[in-house]
Symmetry: D2
Subunit: 397 residues, 4 copies
Amino acid sequence: MKTGVWLIGARGNVAAVSMVGAKAIAQGRTDTTGMVTAREPLSALDLPAVEDLVFGGHDIRSQSITETALAASESSGVPPKSTIEAVEDDLDAIDSRIETGTAINCGQVVGDLAHGDATAEQTVPDLVSAIRADYEAFVADHDLDRLVVVNVASTEPPIDEPERYDTADAVRSAIENDDRALPASVLYAYAALEDGHPYVNFTPSTGSNLDGLCELARERGVPHMGQDAKTGETLVKSALAPMFAGRNLRVLSWEGHNILGNTDGLVLEDDDNKAGKVQSKDGLLEEILGYETQSRVRIDYTPSLGDRKTAWDHIHFEGFLGTEMKLQFTWEGSDSALAAPLVLDLIRLVSHADAQGRSGVQPQLAAFFKSPMAYETHDFSRQHEQLQNYATEHRQE
Amino acid sequence: MKTGVWLIGARGNVAAVSMVGAKAIAQGRTDTTGMVTAREPLSALDLPAVEDLVFGGHDIRSQSITETALAASESSGVPPKSTIEAVEDDLDAIDSRIETGTAINCGQVVGDLAHGDATAEQTVPDLVSAIRADYEAFVADHDLDRLVVVNVASTEPPIDEPERYDTADAVRSAIENDDRALPASVLYAYAALEDGHPYVNFTPSTGSNLDGLCELARERGVPHMGQDAKTGETLVKSALAPMFAGRNLRVLSWEGHNILGNTDGLVLEDDDNKAGKVQSKDGLLEEILGYETQSRVRIDYTPSLGDRKTAWDHIHFEGFLGTEMKLQFTWEGSDSALAAPLVLDLIRLVSHADAQGRSGVQPQLAAFFKSPMAYETHDFSRQHEQLQNYATEHRQE
Amino acid sequence: MKTGVWLIGARGNVAAVSMVGAKAIAQGRTDTTGMVTAREPLSALDLPAVEDLVFGGHDIRSQSITETALAASESSGVPPKSTIEAVEDDLDAIDSRIETGTAINCGQVVGDLAHGDATAEQTVPDLVSAIRADYEAFVADHDLDRLVVVNVASTEPPIDEPERYDTADAVRSAIENDDRALPASVLYAYAALEDGHPYVNFTPSTGSNLDGLCELARERGVPHMGQDAKTGETLVKSALAPMFAGRNLRVLSWEGHNILGNTDGLVLEDDDNKAGKVQSKDGLLEEILGYETQSRVRIDYTPSLGDRKTAWDHIHFEGFLGTEMKLQFTWEGSDSALAAPLVLDLIRLVSHADAQGRSGVQPQLAAFFKSPMAYETHDFSRQHEQLQNYATEHRQE
Amino acid sequence: MKTGVWLIGARGNVAAVSMVGAKAIAQGRTDTTGMVTAREPLSALDLPAVEDLVFGGHDIRSQSITETALAASESSGVPPKSTIEAVEDDLDAIDSRIETGTAINCGQVVGDLAHGDATAEQTVPDLVSAIRADYEAFVADHDLDRLVVVNVASTEPPIDEPERYDTADAVRSAIENDDRALPASVLYAYAALEDGHPYVNFTPSTGSNLDGLCELARERGVPHMGQDAKTGETLVKSALAPMFAGRNLRVLSWEGHNILGNTDGLVLEDDDNKAGKVQSKDGLLEEILGYETQSRVRIDYTPSLGDRKTAWDHIHFEGFLGTEMKLQFTWEGSDSALAAPLVLDLIRLVSHADAQGRSGVQPQLAAFFKSPMAYETHDFSRQHEQLQNYATEHRQE
Ligand SMILES: NC(=O)c1ccc[n+]([C@@H]2O[C@H](COP(=O)([O-])OP(=O)(O)OC[C@H]3O[C@@H](n4cnc5c(N)ncnc54)[C@H](O)[C@@H]3O)[C@@H](O)[C@H]2O)c1
Ligand SMILES: NC(=O)c1ccc[n+]([C@@H]2O[C@H](COP(=O)([O-])OP(=O)(O)OC[C@H]3O[C@@H](n4cnc5c(N)ncnc54)[C@H](O)[C@@H]3O)[C@@H](O)[C@H]2O)c1
Ligand SMILES: NC(=O)c1ccc[n+]([C@@H]2O[C@H](COP(=O)([O-])OP(=O)(O)OC[C@H]3O[C@@H](n4cnc5c(N)ncnc54)[C@H](O)[C@@H]3O)[C@@H](O)[C@H]2O)c1
Ligand SMILES: NC(=O)c1ccc[n+]([C@@H]2O[C@H](COP(=O)([O-])OP(=O)(O)OC[C@H]3O[C@@H](n4cnc5c(N)ncnc54)[C@H](O)[C@@H]3O)[C@@H](O)[C@H]2O)c1
Ligand code: NA
Ligand code: NA
């Protein structure tokens, strides 16, 4: 059983740190801290070994994976330089398998990152064919039994009127008719699902989150899930908000301010691209609290921080006898170090779902996402319980 | 059905704010924000109405409830002065029902608070008889159908060798033989359980937390629960720690620093009395995380803050690839405003348990306590779920 | 010697709290904490007594001063309700002396606050005549020896091409020719200086900060100063930034996020009006540090906070051997309580300057402002020293 | 002109990072960020070049300087490993010049660090002779024109009745008579001053801070200064407290909590050794504010942090109309990276003072210390101005 991983955005930070990590684990140079699948009860599932994953992917930049990793190391110490050096050969091998993707409808800032080929004028049907051919060649070249496609590319602007793509046929005919409104993430996702490859959308971009693609996934019997991995401030929010609800403390306002300095931050500095992100970070409070509250999420680009995202949240709440109180927190996390192990977890867990013959969106993976495509709650503890229950159910005999 | 409430420490902050709140609710002057039983699904239980509770209690100080409430209002704005004035007559009526308790083995600082009678030399059997007589008279005077005894008195130093009191008989004979090591909280708890009154220990003092008293409660068919209400920093801890566990992030150290300025803070300034408190705040990390971590809880007395407790927690953790990260939070809560609604909740819920014929420790109430006497986890979300399950099970038709 | 005070924006928060404070001091109900002139060496100057100040002013809203004060008290506890009640008669008397001003070029949000008369179509020369008549009548009615005009009105958007008004004559002819670009704050300031009334601009609006008005002030021999009082985050910044400079620690980025919920916050929610504010908060770092650094100041409107402004600043800096470090602070201040005593200080100190025959901008008052019109440094300690030196020089024998 | 530097505690963190830094500067591998003498106006003084300093010293441990530096690098990334490797030969050369000192009266924890020789039973006169011989040999071996002695050893417990040593003669006869109360730091300081070597006490230990040693320094015409370098929380305090004073804002309480994980932290975990530290951190508030306020400084040992000291300060203050407000800050600094450049600054500046023929305590260096032995104020801005004035006065033509 050989599992391949196709990363959309394979030369970005999250991708690079995921692959450095996988290869360092393979070499026994680092442990699995941060990986949810490394812990009971998930570790008891029959999951593909991290050591055995074969990586490839699309990108639109020419900077190599090693260059990305070294730049991250330089600016924020993650991954350690010595670790990168130890796995450099592996990274180079993967680099040679990276194909040029498309930056269509990814917005101005992403367009600016892209080298010539990625922005070349091509029709949508041609773009999709090229993507499918890339997937197919990778499977053939490496004799893969399963290919998991993971979107870790830059955040695209949200699309207008997503309801136009509400059936598998609507999506197919939009592609055939060269519909110029379709963004890259949808093309990559469509290609994966159409060909039966499990798909994970780690980003806030549209990806497989169209009714038409959900239908397609069910038709093809392929599992997929998204969107926007829950790694920082939102994770903390989803752990804390249930406490206020549980104690019947009324949240009067919840202000969040994020500063970060990596390429992701640069892209999010653009208002269009930020739109999708802020939306997916902002939705959970109302669901958990059961009422609407004043809430704001700011994301600002502060280059000096590199990959170290810092968030300040200020929660103003009311308790008994009209008493006003406050909780404030600051979160200082390395964005990629938080994201990378979850990428590995999701690869393993969506592979597992596929092996179980599960198709469509996978609610048991809701704990991993800011805007889970199917879920019962944003409450992290409950989401995690759901994941544990899945594990207990499917635990290997 | 008339429910009486006997507060041990009836002239303290928590007691005063609980009663101001109950009476303000009765007058429609405030709402039930902060009360867990005011929210679905608990609100669907058949609980005694807050408006109908009849209060009395023991204390060792002569300062009146109104004086306590006004001093709290002056120093930290809680409860609002206008609310106190509106319920002053009710408070005066309750004040007239307060009896002098005993400060035996409560430590030097508490002894200093006590007026003469409370420290008078009396034998243990005499003290217990007096307490039982006080309970009985209160029930008779107000024609009560049920009496709930709640310990909201100052924190006592922990006792030595609690295992000597491991059977109901051991406790009984210690009392008979005038065992001078028994602290006040145990005498109050014994008297309650022996006479069949449901008992709640809101404090870190020993109270009913002796194997002998647990046996007694089962024998007498009376429900009880404790200990040390979870209102501030520990509550946040129990909501956040599961997030680290769930994400397999390794907590390297968790430092907590609490500053507060009310009488509770003054008592805890004393190292003996603090011992119990710090112990009950510190236990949960290991259980939730599954390993031992460097952890510290400081409680310092800062008079200027009055009842406004402020906590700073600094959590240093490690993620993927050895990456070190941090979460810090500051909590600024009004201690009594947080505690008071839980006192009312616990009165209602232990009454409910009693009405259901439940006896012994009540695990469904674990969410309310820092050191729940019976529990499965310190994880707040799970504890709260357990409470909700209880509610769903017992919801009124 | 009778000193009158004419407040532009007399029904706003800062104005209301200043007057409540002055009257409460007069009644001996509060002390002078927060007033710089109450402390040595400034207290040794021959300053007008706070008790003797006679207040009047312009506004564009009809809400009374008492209503403003009560709303502030309700939402954030400042000033205390009992204090407002004690001085209510004084406030009513002042209210009857408030005249309708003009909202010309104050932006949409301020226009929305204004009642009919304040937005009535009038020519600029007519507006100026009306303002001068209001000043004159106030002086006559109260038999004043000196009138100090203080701008505490809402922040206007900055004006375009201020250099067009670079001489006194340019200003005068703009007014005569009904130049529709002149904003209200300039008209109030012009009227004050032309008639020889000392003027203070507490706000970031243009006010007297035009070269032409500075010339006018020198011609007329009248002292004036501005702009934008330094009360919160910027004050802390001006105290902390010199520490980094003094230790040769390199500031890599300085991020500031302010949240506040009063009318000032609502006005600043508008991007046009915010422009002036952010500009005046942002200028000081470069001067103090001696180099440009990544810096951002956000101001967001969070209604739940009322007048309680909270700021989070995150300072990322580099020390020896390339070591990166951080300082973060949160500031939780009552905006009006911080501003009001400075209004009283500035009234007293600009009166003093006037009595000394000083004219033009007053650099000794730089410590009070975010963008001092004349200054040597933004370093708070040095500015304060300059003020103390002034005091020592002019101290009464 | 050749300047030697004798470090007491030469194998500790502060010493190691100072020497790594000096050598890295000499190699052009790092710049002088963090060094006050690298900035105008101090850089215009005629100071010994960092590149030319010759290092030696005493210690009581056998761990080499390189080992200390590598351990620090490992635990907290400072100094960078690559920098240590680049200067390793220099460090080895210095290591060979380190002599065994004495741990007399340094407390239990320090005793535990010491290897055999350092705790050997020797009489005080013998210890002093040995120290003087070490200084002399170093001067001779390296042909030094000047020797500066700097105490960067672990903090000793404070001594009892320091007034017994109030004259130079009293100190001399205590030494002669083998007075067993004299701690190591006094012996090193005495030896330096008696032999005319400028002396700096970077630590809170007694060092030259005895009236008798001050007299000795004046007699011998040698400059000295101390004590306890101001690098972290106290530095911020001394920058912020003047702001409260300047604005007449009343500080109600100032709570400080420091956590750190290096050997210094381990030593300070011991209550005796901590005594001196807390004392010198706590003194400044009263002087700056002009009144006593509730204030506390906690220092706790948190191994996971390594050399990264984190401090949380909570400042509760009152403004106009009794309004209560707060400032909180967290400081995350690398202790040694902050200290090391100041060690180099002090070496250079005390050399300069010596060259100028200045003797006794040097008030112009007050800005460097938490408890300056001679000073006018703890206000950092004013202290820094004093230093700048010194520089301006003595600037080279
Ligand atoms: N790091 C986290 O904690 C985290 C959490 C949730 C979501 N995300 C999301 O993950 C994504 C990646 O983050 P990152 O930090 O690695 O960003 P990054 O900017 O470092 O990497 C993105 C990569 O995607 C490439 N790319 C952009 N558009 C592409 C396209 N159309 N086709 C192929 N490649 C394309 C870029 O060239 C770049 O190499 C972002 O969308 C981010 O919002 C990250
Ligand atoms: N407020 C909270 O958030 C909170 C949370 C958990 C636990 N608690 C615990 O609740 C208790 C009460 O807190 P508080 O703030 O009201 O304190 P408090 O000091 O204001 O009140 C305690 C009262 O108990 C009385 N008392 C002391 N010993 C007594 C005795 N032996 N018999 C009868 N009365 C006695 C005192 O006279 C006082 O009136 C403390 O033990 C505290 O640790 C409070
Ligand atoms: N509070 C502080 O700490 C602080 C610090 C620095 C500057 N300021 C500035 O002080 C000003 C007042 O702040 P505030 O909190 O009192 O605001 P506010 O909104 O409560 O009051 C402003 C008042 O000005 C009136 N007004 C607006 N335009 C006017 C005009 N053209 N003529 C006459 N009146 C007019 C409004 O009707 C309102 O009553 C703002 O510009 C603010 O930016 C405040
Ligand atoms: N790092 C800072 O920011 C800072 C600031 C102010 C003061 N200090 C003080 O500087 C001193 C050094 O700090 P550090 O972090 O380097 O500590 P450290 O523990 O790493 O180093 C101290 C060294 O002194 C040696 N030592 C102890 N007693 C000795 C003695 N009697 N004779 C000779 N050597 C002895 C120890 O063996 C050790 O090598 C401490 O007193 C600390 O309080 C440090
Ligand atoms: Na029962
Ligand atoms: Na004049």
